[in-house]
Symmetry: none
């Protein structure tokens, strides 16, 4: 965990001491993070991300391994405003219409063997 830290620091040619100083923590503390011996508090973690001008997710190695994919039907279960059209969020109704629209087209085109899926819970 946090194995990205070492690289981030070395890329900047900082010593652990310098880095710790900038973070306001003891060098042994910071060293513990790099080695995996210790984990930082959430506050320290945020400060570290700020210092290296990166994200907490990157430091944690949560690299968006898979490019973010969005299943449209999930947008109906948990409404949010992630999809925009002409800068305006898609309403739930619009998404519902869209799902029905595409499904019907797909069904017309090909395999009737695969029925549409009920999106209700």
């Amino acid at each position: 965990m946090l194995e990205n830290l070492s690289e981030l620091r070395k890329k900047r040619k900082w010593s652990q001491q310098e880095t710790a100083d900038q973070l306001g923590i003891a060098k042994s503390t910071y060293a513990g993070y790099e080695s995996g011996y210790r984990e930082p508090s959430l506050q320290s973690l945020s400060q570290i991300a700020d210092l290296f001008e990166t994200t907490v997710d990157f430091i944690l190695g949560r690299t968006n391994e898979e490019q973010d994919q969005i299943e449209v039907t999930n947008l109906l279960k948990y409404p949010d405003s992630r999809l925009l059209l002409d800068g305006k969020p898609l309403s739930e109704d619009e998404i519902v219409d869209f799902v029905a629209f595409v499904r019907s087209k797909r069904m017309l085109r090909a395999d009737v063997s695969k029925p549409s899926i009920d999106t209700r819970e």
Copy 2:
């Protein structure tokens, strides 16, 4: 800190108990996170981000958007299969049809003053 948690959970209409169960922790533990009384370990934090399909940075309040917002018309410029319906990527044609579909409905509903925008480059 972590004040986004409550919203993420409520949007899914989960109780604290249900959420804690999914995370494999005690409900009082999870409740402590929402109230700010306790902070999760980095491991729990990652699990929480996974459960809510968001980023650690968002949970920590380090970023405004829960997820990247996607402008549908941009998908036509740079096709990338990010949108799935029933697990199957939306084709360019499907997106084109959808854009036209929603735009026409939006125009019907309200201001005719704003014509649809040409999606071609």
